[in-house]
């Protein structure tokens, strides 16, 4: 295994483009090292991206939008004084990952690129409308977070491409988000279902919504039907029932020891309702 510590994304991309065999980027290493140690994936080339300038920066731009460097960890997101006030769902989703020790290393971009359908931060980022800059041999392009995973452990990144920044839109007025997951324990477990909701209200009426489901299909899903069930409503019982039905209908889950197909399908609806209620209360300024 060759270890590289490039000083720029162009150099990182060039190294990856010319590498043969298996290449991995090293952010927090909480997936890469586990896979290496359990001999699931032994990379031929490992490219550590933490020495690139600015990768630890959390920047709030003048228009209220955010850029996070690709080595920003869960702990750094939770400690940021303002990020969690504007995007509590995104920060809480990331904070659910692992223990204090894991939080000190794990990054949302690594969570995304590992390609797990159960990755906790991903539904929250999708609901938030987050995007990433992809740097490759042909230059930079901006891609929506939901377009990165293509299947379990697979992404749309081509050889030589890597993510060089994470962008979260401006929260703007009267908006709120939330992420909830179901796990069989209270801590340190993998989501059986995860739901991210972000919405905006005008008075009591929902004017914008994005709903994303995790762990119920080969990739994290952005579910348009869930958004449609919410927009134009005041989150009354009819809207909540329609949301739950749309969430359950979107599920294409697996059956395993952590949850059956029926269970995951049902829980997706229940969690969608609960997450929507939290996001709605936050949008109306009723809770933090």
């Amino acid at each position: 295994m060759q270890y590289h510590r490039p000083a720029s994304f162009a150099e990182a991309s060039d190294l990856a483009a010319h590498a043969t065999g298996i290449t991995r980027f090293l952010a927090g290493g909480t997936d890469v090292l586990v896979q290496l140690r359990s001999e699931i994936v032994t990379p031929d080339t490992l490219i550590d991206i933490k020495a690139i300038d600015g990768v630890r920066d959390i920047t709030r731009h003048a228009d209220g939008s955010w850029t996070l460097g690709v080595a920003v960890t869960g702990a750094e997101m939770s400690e940021h004084p303002q990020l969690g006030r504007e995007w509590p769902g995104v920060v809480e989703a990331m904070d659910l990952i692992g223990s204090t020790q894991i939080q000190g290393r794990a990054t949302p971009v690594g969570n995304l690129c590992n390609g797990s359908p159960a990755a906790d931060s991903v539904p929250a980022m999708v609901a938030a409308g987050a995007s990433v800059t992809v740097t490759g041999p042909a230059g930079d392009r901006v891609v929506a977070v939901e377009d990165i995973p293509t299947g379990p452990g697979k992404t749309s990144l081509a050889q030589g491409e890597l993510i060089s920044a994470l962008h979260i839109p401006a929260r703007g007025a009267n908006g709120g988000d939330a992420y909830l997951r179901f796990i069989p324990r209270t801590e340190m477990d993998i989501a059986v279902v995860g739901v991210g909701v972000s919405l905006r209200v005008d008075g009591d009426t929902i004017t914008e919504a994005r709903v994303s489901l995790g762990a119920v299909a080969p990739t994290v899903l952005l579910v348009e039907e869930c958004a449609r069930a919410l927009i134009g409503t005041t989150l009354d019982d009819t809207a909540l029932a329609a949301l739950a039905a749309a969430a359950s209908a979107a599920c294409k889950p697996i059956d395993d020891k952590r949850g059956t197909i029926e269970f995951r399908t049902e829980v997706a609806g229940v969690l969608a309702k609960r997450a929507a209620k939290i996001a709605y209360a936050r949008a109306k300024g009723e809770t933090a």
Binding site: R5, L26, S99, Q101, E187
Partner: protein, 159 residues
């Protein structure tokens, strides 16, 4: 296989070692620097027996590569006592009998010290969540939590 030459700081001392890219920081601490306080319980980030701080951030050293330590500041359990004088956490762990076999103890102590540096007055719930990544198969955790909270109280009185 080319070896990497790493210069890093462990418990305030500059140290150097040669390592293979696949070797973890835990392997390097234990096998090259003879700092065997950090233990390997699982090797996959689940048990916390290998806890150290890396640039003051609590991490599992089994999930850090030895090469990543270049130019960093590492603190391990070996740096906790000052000569013969135990750190208050170590003293309280003995007083409260917060250990049995002791395998988890170095990791728990390093993690607890990081907690008290960040939050001198944790609630029981905060302490339990903070230490959720440190598994102990002997004590049932209660004595550990009591020792940590008692240390916090003592340190607050002293300051």
């Amino acid at each position: 296989m080319t070896k990497h030459h790493v210069t890093t700081t462990v418990n305030g001392d500059t140290v150097e070692y040669l390592c293979d890219a696949r070797e973890t920081l835990l392997d390097c601490l234990r096998d090259k620097l003879n700092l065997t306080g950090a233990k390997e319980g699982c090797g996959t980030g689940d048990c916390g027996a290998c806890s150290v701080t890396l640039d003051r951030r609590l991490v599992c050293s089994c999930l850090v590569l030895g090469v990543e330590a270049e130019g960093k500041q590492i603190e391990t359990i070996e740096g906790m006592a000052r000569g013969e004088t135990l750190h208050p956490l170590q003293r309280k762990f003995i007083e409260h009998a917060a250990l049995q076999c002791g395998v988890c103890t170095p990791g728990v102590l390093v993690a607890a010290k990081a907690l008290l540096e960040k939050n001198p007055d944790p609630t029981e719930e905060e302490a339990r969540y903070w230490l959720a990544g440190n598994l102990c198969r002997c004590t049932g955790y209660d004595k550990i939590i009591r020792a940590v909270l008692d240390t916090a109280a003592e340190l607050r009185e002293a300051s």
